[in-house]
């Protein structure tokens, strides 16, 4: 009985929340500050021509720097939650032919498309995060097709790859401190710097996202 009462109370609360917020949305005035003209006015000196990329990597670059730091912390938290005694994983026997065959065709195409997305980010929707997500999906697909073993504790090379994006971003940010503000790119070199940051970000993000899956996948997952 009390469970039903609790459920009813929560559902009523949620419905009231929807009603109140929807009511507010209908009477909400247009925002007093319009950021679009500001973005378009400064787009020329941002180094890229796509406004979302300009906001992500230049005008609000600090957000993106902290974002990759959050990703890194999340991966460290996942690694810390793994059981310490997990043995090195091996590629188990292949029981299905379809997935490996599909993966062998799909993964090179995914790699190519990730490179395209990374390159396209400068002037149309795309960029490091989309490319990184696609690369991570390719790695996960390889593992699911049993063509690649799950990852055990990261070695030096993998650790380097995981932190490269954050360190390069942080290094460039620190180097630009001399110019006055954090992440204030000189307009002449902004495009080059953004491309450098995006490339390393894409690699690191792919490894971090894939690691969230592949490190966890190595321990068998059966209750003790």
């Amino acid at each position: 009985m009390s469970a039903n009462l609790r459920r009813l109370a929560v559902i009523l609360g949620a419905a009231t929340f929807v009603w109140l917020l929807a009511d507010t949305l209908f009477t909400l005035p247009l925002p007093a500050v319009d950021l679009r003209p500001l973005v378009s006015a400064n787009l020329a000196q941002s180094g890229v021509t796509h406004p979302v990329t300009a906001v992500l990597l230049n005008f609000r670059g600090f957000d993106t720097l902290l974002e990759i730091a959050v990703m890194l912390v999340a991966l460290i938290a996942v690694l810390a939650s793994l059981p310490g005694d997990s043995s090195r994983a091996t590629v188990s026997d292949n029981t299905d032919d379809m997935l490996p065959a599909f993966s062998r065709t799909a993964v090179p195409l995914m790699l190519l498309y990730a490179l395209y997305l990374l390159w396209a980010g400068a002037f149309r929707p795309g960029g490091a995060f989309q490319a990184g997500a696609l690369l991570a999906a390719a790695l996960a697909l390889l593992h699911l097709a049993r063509l690649m073993p799950a990852w055990s504790a990261p070695g030096l090379l993998l650790r380097g790859g995981l932190v490269a994006g954050f360190l390069v971003f942080l290094g460039i940010a620190a180097a630009l401190m001399a110019g006055g503000a954090l992440l204030q790119y000189p307009p002449a070199h902004a495009g080059m710097l953004i491309l450098l940051i995006e490339s390393t970000l894409a690699v690191s993000l792919a490894l971090i996202l894939a690691g969230l899956f592949l490190f966890v996948s190595s321990d068998g997952g059966t209750p003790k």
Binding site: A22, L35, L212
Partner: protein, 101 residues
């Protein structure tokens, strides 16, 4: 009612569904999913409100893009913890809400 407001109200409904699910569901996997639905609702509200005057504003779009990636990371941590709990105890239910169906 413009289509942007329709999107925004949809986002509010998604958020409410996710919030109710986060409170009511006992299974941790479902809770993580419900929490993700909450986050998606917030993103939909943010993006749709930003394009009410016709043209999309890139600043909220970039913020939502950042938010999605952070949400993926948080989900990964939540799932890893759930999995660890399952390894240690053999179940993935919270003990506080035992009066589930």
């Amino acid at each position: 009612m413009t289509s942007e407001l329709l999107f925004a109200v949809t986002g509010v409904i998604l958020f409410a569904i996710g919030a109710a699910g986060t409170i009511l569901l006992a299974n941790l996997l479902r809770r993580v999913l419900a929490f993700n639905i909450m986050g998606s609702g917030a993103c939909v509200v943010l993006v749709s409100l930003a394009q009410r005057n016709g043209i999309a504003d890139p600043v909220p779009q970039a913020m939502v893009l950042t938010g999605i990636v952070v949400a993926v990371a948080a989900t990964g941590v939540a799932l890893a913890l759930t999995r660890r709990l399952h390894q240690l105890t053999g179940e993935c239910e919270t003990t506080s809400s035992v009066e589930h169906d």
